[in-house]
Amino acid sequence: METRTQVAVLAGKLTRAATRRGGHGGTALPGLIAEKIDPAIVRRLGAQLDRSALITGTNGKTTTARMLAGILAADGRRVVHNRAGSNLMRGLASTLIEATRADGRLPAAATGVFEVDEATLPAATAATRPSVLVIGNLLRDQLDRYGEVDAVRDQWLRTIRDLPAATALALNADDPSVATLADEARGRVVLFGVDDPLPSVSDHAAEARWNPTTGADFVYDRVFYAHIGHWRCADGSLQRPTPQVRATAVDRDAADGVAFDLSAEGRTARVRLPLRGLYNVYNALAAAAAARVLGVDLDVAAEALNHTRAAFGRQERLVVEGRPVWLLLGKNPAGLNEALRTLHTPGARHHLLVLLNDRVADGTDVSWIWDTDWEALTPYVQSVVVGGARAADMALRLQYAGFPGADAPVERDIEAALQRALQTLPPDAELTVLPTYTAMLEVRERLGRRAGVPPIWEGA
């Protein structure tokens, strides 16, 4: 190994040890320091991996990567995985540094599983030359940071054109913005999708209303969430391609999760996913499609998916001071609408803690809350506490939805909001927490401390 890379790895490991002693997560900091010393560190360390999978898309990256890592581990592979969700180049560097042994080498025959930020994809593919690139969806998110949605897709198109033919693509057939990326692929393409006559939903923030190449309108025979479903062009020029990895017989009300038949290449296995919502079926399909490319048997994949544990803050269940707490990240309209739909349980009367922050990682623009469908949740709400830096904006949104107590005082401080929610929670009731991204990190840390579970950067 180059001296410079060795020094960078040592500096990274030193940083990691120092920050952990200080009690801070700092999942990206070791990589940030190491990149300053050796800017090519991800490429240099990544070259030692046997193969790797990159996972991108607006929503579901962390959960999909976690599912894929679980499948590969169940298949007996050694996995290097950025499990704490640090998905910029520095996060990949941190993960690779952590996996590097005392002799300066990564373990032999390891597979990399990396979730990658949408805008980081070009740099990450160039550095890792992945065996498979998974793209889950393209949804409206953080417009203040990424600019318009079309710019993200254009960047993906350029990245895919530059991929070596040895890199396979796993693409969502049901998202027209993603499925049509296959046109630019030089290597193998594996499409995944849901083949089930589920009822359609109507989301207010759907993108992809027409084919960017031909200008023909997309029409939908079925919408599963946002603009994801069974689409075709109105002029008949194009339609949803038939997926090779499919979910059928979806049962959205299976006990504590969602069940479906996972099919590929003429074989089928029942999956009982311990996470709720159709968006998690898509995450599981994405992971299964990547696992097919990496040569994992379908039954092994299905069985591993049955044992999926929620990633931190993503439908994660904790017990805090004897009270059940359910933490559902909702960071953009499509993701939050899906999270809200999982709460439409007949007869349920939820106690909610809703947390809205507007830091850079949340999106500094909070207008997206007006594109989310709180109205449909109102009949299922017993009480709500509102918190976060933009709590007053959120309370106004919830007042419009007719939530009880939306005019009560708000708590901008997350700790104060959490305390109030726990104090006012009736005995035996469950607290459901709906936070934006940075609010989730903060409330998860505080809940984790109370619940005695490891912080996210050490979570298994």
């Binding site: 417009l143 600019g147 079309d150 623009d365 207008s367 997206w368 007006w370 933009r390 106004l396 949104r397």
Partner: protein, 248 residues
């Protein structure tokens, strides 16, 4: 108060021009009408639909990406003359962000293509190219002796022609072009602005102004019973503080 009042709002291109929670503006008008026993009918007007100015009290258009703006351009041209006549007849208009740009004379988009606008506002918008920073962030502006708060996110810069009145004066943020301190435009009862957030829920006095102008035109009397607006004012104040604290 007069009983049985009703208003009709034409929501132009609601499925295309809806980028930044813009339906919140329609929700605000609907809720504020309902609280005063005014029946607000919302007519979505999609590409190819006929728009009837005679039946309309308020026209609303929200924001969209460049590609949506290109998409609606031809249809908007077919309605441009009627929209200008409606403006001259004191018809109420609220145009936000991309809709505001397209209600000007023209918009030169990020590819350098010029999209003709509806000409409701005597203003031109120019996108300086995707290499130039977008105007993004919280905005505080002064309108009619009080603050307007919201968020802006636009690549194009808007320049008001001689004699055109801006809607508001920028305190913090970019506004029309980041240079002349103006934000939005106002001609008769037509209001154009870059602010979303959504704009009307937390700027309730502007929402009521829009309704009053429409009521005066339809009924000759714009009286509106005051609403408590406690939660609205709190959201306004939070945005104000957040914007001004970050501005230094």
């Amino acid at each position: 108060m007069m009983a049985g009042r009703s208003l009709r709002l034409a929501h132009l291109y609601p499925s295309l021009m809806n980028l930044y929670g813009d339906r919140g503006n329609v929700m605000a008008l609907r809720a504020r009408c309902a609280a005063r026993d005014i029946d607000l009918q919302v007519d979505p007007i999609h590409i190819g639909d006929v728009w009837d100015p005679e039946r309309t009290d308020i026209v609303f258009i929200g924001g969209g990406q460049d590609r949506e703006q290109r998409r609606i351009a031809a249809d908007l041209q077919s309605k441009a003359g009627a929209l200008r006549d409606y403006r001259d007849a004191d018809g109420v208009i609220l145009a936000v962000c991309g809709g505001y740009q397209l209600f000007g004379v023209s918009y030169r988009d990020s590819d350098g293509d010029v999209i003709p606008g509806a000409g409701v506002f005597d203003a031109v918008s120019i996108h300086p190219g995707s290499a130039i920073q977008r105007c993004v962030g919280n905005v505080v502006a002064i309108w009619d002796g009080e603050t307007l708060v919201g968020f802006e996110n636009h690549g194009g810069r808007t320049y008001l022609n001689e004699g055109v009145e801006p809607l508001a004066e920028v305190v913090t943020g970019f506004g029309n072009n980041g240079g002349d301190g103006t934000e939005g435009a106002r001609v008769r009862n037509a209001f154009g602005t870059y602010l979303h957030g959504a704009l009307l829920p937390k700027n309730p006095r502007l929402a009521d102004r829009v309704l009053q102008r429409a009521l005066v035109r339809r009924y000759g009397d714009g009286k509106l019973a005051p609403l408590p607006d406690v939660v609205e004012t709190r959201a306004h104040a939070e945005t104000l503080h957040r914007s001004l604290r970050a501005a230094r």
